[in-house]
Symmetry: C2
Subunit: 190 residues, 2 copies
Amino acid sequence: MTQHTEQRPLRRDAQRNIDALLDAAKQVFGTSGVDAPAKEIADLAGVGVGTLYRHFPKRSDLVKAVFQAEVDATADAAPALAAEHDPVVALEKWLHRYTEFLATKRGLASALHSGDPTFDALPAYFIGRLGPAVGSLLDAAAAAGAIRPVASPKDLLYAVSKLSVTMSDEDPEHGRRMLDLLVDGLRYQA
Amino acid sequence: MTQHTEQRPLRRDAQRNIDALLDAAKQVFGTSGVDAPAKEIADLAGVGVGTLYRHFPKRSDLVKAVFQAEVDATADAAPALAAEHDPVVALEKWLHRYTEFLATKRGLASALHSGDPTFDALPAYFIGRLGPAVGSLLDAAAAAGAIRPVASPKDLLYAVSKLSVTMSDEDPEHGRRMLDLLVDGLRYQA
DNA sequence: AGCTAAGCGGAACGCTCTTCCAGAACTATA
DNA sequence: TATAGTTCTGGAAGAGCGTTCCGCTTAGCT
């Protein structure tokens, strides 16, 4: 999920614990919010709190790591979907995946805007990873002649996020239909 | 600042303490954020923590009360300004006052969107107090023939808030100039 | 197998939230 | 003004969480 890129590789158990903590934190952040007790996360991961603090000295480190892991997972879904489905379906499925990510992110949003400098680089990371991901899907679909060209992947990400913010307040199905509509709008008319 | 409207009037010392707590909370929220230690607020107000909890059992009660007090103060400034200045100047001054309020509110924003049901009624309170406040200033200026009629006070509040959100990131002076521009736009051309 | 250093767990400490109640302070009444 | 009755106050006490620290464990190497 996350590997350190320093000279010494991390010990196996350490890497295992980091992954377990990331999984646990993602889950706990979703249920109990970002201010959940550290022990709750450590317990769920099956490690002591000392281990948590060893790898993530500050809470913001953990939040950041969870966020990046989710961005990575979402970005990595793009090539996988592209391999399994035809271009437009892959794009559709990926955008749904992306809205799920946005829903998760909502819990982290207040933390992200808290002014902690640890989070300053995250928006750039977000665009840097997700932009190329949609970009490749869009290019593939456009190359197949299935959709019209889109000005910029970034605009699409932004538009979908706006769409899913307003949608969350009401019926979640409603948001899904709106997104489908957007994708249909991308297609060339017969 | 805030008075209880129940049958029994509040004891004098109690009312004094409530006001002191509100002042202190407003100040502390501004410097240390809404998660500041309760003791810090109590100390600044010159009361014990017990007193704080008596009047504001939940932290959200205090946040809400501070917010409402600020809304009230901002709304009450309208008639005062109207009495002292000619219509357009009063409107101008009040809008500047309003942007100051928005700046303060930013600290509370994350709390307001936290999903706590205590805060559900606040947006309505905001419009209910501030809408008529600008409304009366606009009407007075329009009646004096100084400005063109505005579709709705609510729209103006919304527009100014949008303006001041984008402005806060950069030069504060910049935002002030933009606001002045907006007010100038309201005037009838010679 | 034996050595070394990275990594682990959880006890312990300090800080904050929240409750509670004996006594102080205020108001109403005479 | 004096008194009774009530409200309100302050801070000690209990509980819970965050964070640190260090003796023990275990992976990785020879």
